[in-house]
Structures are given as structure tokens and as C-alpha cells.
Symmetry: C2
Subunit: 201 residues, 2 copies
């Protein structure tokens, strides 16, 4: 039985789509056929959006968030509290904090977390720019909001050591049991953090 | 609390990605940030694959499958049985049939199914080209393999009426209970088809 191949430009597109996170062989094919079926302008709109994003996006001079100008929309907003900085691993983490509608400070994006096993050392993160920024604008508080993963925890510990000499309040986001979770499904490490971090009511 | 916006080129990309089937707001954002984080060449590779696919893909002159030449890879394969045609709604349905490794005929792609409620009539499907093709190359058998949905069933019924005068064997794929399905989860319409289509053992 001869094997059938997709027409070459289609096969190339399927291969490119399969590289996207969470896109397997089947959905890559489904997306490719979708892009074949829609108006040509729509398919080209997506392609152009990718190209334009890669061309125009740069990092905010101050906080290393994505920006299309010198400063990002947050750093250039005078209504934000510029003495309070939340340190995050990735630019998209900002959306999560913003959706809480309970934070009015600014950010600093590390673009990663320490991972010596993958050759990611302090010099590979946006840490130097955090220190420089603190020389320019005095900060009241730095909230370390890296993930409570091995890498994020190591990063927070490293930052604590680095920032401590600088006379700034350093805090860590609370680690514990997620809202809505039954204790039955909580692991020991989380339970342990949760007890250690208990607060008086 | 001021609302934060993504940098414009990023927001545009997220909006374009959200138009893809099965891509919601969250995964559109995840994909956009992935495309920001990978090597620029990789992101541009996807964009170029979309553009190139829309530029180069056309429909096979004979069967209306996607092709990058005059005939698709199946219609130009002399090892296939060109007297046996499987009629399908969409080009991607071909992959499903091919994966069975039990079919060696050729195909005809309708590019849709009859749906008067959505203004899709016989003239909007690749039916005329099926009739013309049958005048050129005599067929032994036409397998109607449209989906057993309302629209696919209507299309099969219409094709049966249209092809009957042409002295060709017309068959319909078997409709019944899927392999591996417990009868407990089978609907009455499927059960009814399954009984009507029972075969002697």
C-alpha cells in the first residue's frame, strides 16, 4: 500500500505548527487545513502578525517587559506605584498579576529562572538591570514572585542574597494551598509551606 | 486600578491566534509568548510556511484534493486503482482513509456537504467535476464516504440520485457502532443504522 503525502507546502506548514507548545500531529493538521480553508487575507493576517510582532517587540528599558517603545505601558504609567516592584520570571506572568486587580506597583521581568543544569546562571537573567534600576529609582519593596518550583525558589533565594545589602524590603509571595483545593489533593511540600507560612486570624 | 494592555504587536498576534479553531484567549497568549521566546528564525519559519502554503497550494485538476502541481500525489500515482473513487467532504478526510492502509483507490473531494440552511447547494460542491471526470475515465465504483451527519447524509442521498443513471456501482460506507464502544453509550439512531446494516456471519 503506497503511503500518501500531503502536498509539500502543506506538509511544511504542518511541521511548523507541530513545533508550537501543546500542538500535536492531529491539531497541527487541523490548524493547517483551517488556514487553507479561510479567506486568504485571514491566513496572511496571522503570518503578518507573527512577523510584525518579532520585528517590532522589544524589551522595556526599565523592567524588561515586552514593549513597542522605549518603556512598556506599565513603566510609562504615572498612576502606578513606582516604588513597589514585583519580580517575575516571564512577561506573560504580568497578566496573571494584573487580573487580580489588587496590584498597582510595577514589575521586573527576569526572563527565566536559575537552572544550572540547563546552564542558566544569574548572568543569563535580567538581574543586573534590576540592580541598576534600583540605583536610579529608589524602591520601597521588592516582591519576589518567581514560581515555587525548584528553579523559581533558587532564583528567589539568590535574589534575596543579592538585594539584602541594598536596604530595601524584600518579600516573597505566599506559598500554600490553592483556593478551592481539598486537602486530600495537597502534596506534603505544599502542606509544609502552608503550615510554616500560617497567619494569625 | 488601571487596566494593562499588551504591547500592540503582541495584542494583534494574540487576536489573530484566537481566530484559530480550538484556540481560546489563554492558549492564544501562550502561543504568542512562545513565538516571542523562540529564535526569530523559528517564528518567521511558521509565518513563511503559512504564506507559502496559501500561495502554492491549489486543487488537483481531477479530484480536487490539495496539490502543489496539476494533479495531486494520489491521482498521479500509477499504482492506485483509478477505477475506484472514494467521495469525501474535505481534503483532510483523505488522511483518515489512508491511515487504514486498506484502500488503494483514488478520491474525489466535494469541499463541503449540502446545507441549504447555510446556503450550500449542489452547485457549491465539487459535483460537476465528479460527473465530468466520470465521462473521461470510466469508474467501476463510487464509494460515498461523506459523514453520517444530517448534511453528509443529504449529500450522499443527492449523489446517489445524480449518479444512478450513469451505470456505476454506488456504495455507502458502513454506519454503525464504533469499534471499542460499549452499547451503553450508543444513541438510538446509530443503533437503528447498526441493525438495519447487519451482516450475516
Amino acid at each position: 500500500m503506497p503511503r500518501v503525502d500531503l502536498a509539500a507546502p502543506m506538509a511544511t506548514l504542518v511541521a511548523e505548527l507541530k513545533r508550537l507548545p501543546g500542538v500535536g500531529a492531529k491539531s497541527a493538521q487541523r490548524l493547517a487545513f483551517h488556514l487553507l480553508g479561510v479567506d486568504r487575507a485571514k491566513a496572511e493576517g496571522l503570518a503578518r502578525a507573527i512577523l510584525s510582532m518579532r520585528e517590532r517587540i522589544r524589551l522595556c528599558r526599565r523592567c524588561k517587559n515586552i514593549a513597542d517603545g522605549d518603556l512598556c505601558s506599565i513603566c510609562s504609567d504615572p498612576r502606578r506605584d513606582h516604588g513597589l516592584v514585583c519580580v517575575l520570571e516571564q512577561p506573560n506572568n504580568i497578566m496573571l498579576v494584573e487580573r487580580t486587580r489588587s496590584y498597582n506597583g510595577v514589575y521586573h521581568i527576569l526572563h527565566g529562572a536559575l537552572a544550572p543544569s540547563r546552564n542558566i546562571y544569574p548572568k543569563d537573567l535580567m538581574i543586573k538591570s534590576l540592580l541598576e534600576r534600583m540605583k536610579e529609582v529608589p524602591l520601597r519593596e521588592v516582591i519576589l514572585a518567581t514560581s515555587p518550583t525548584t528553579e523559581g525558589q533558587a532564583t528567589a533565594a539568590y535574589l534575596k542574597g543579592t538585594l539584602q545589602p541594598l536596604d530595601v524590603k524584600i518579600t516573597r509571595i505566599a506559598l500554600g494551598i490553592p483556593i478551592g483545593t481539598n486537602l486530600e489533593f495537597v502534596d506534603e511540600a505544599t502542606m509544609s509551606e502552608s503550615i510554616a507560612g500560617r497567619r494569625e486570624l
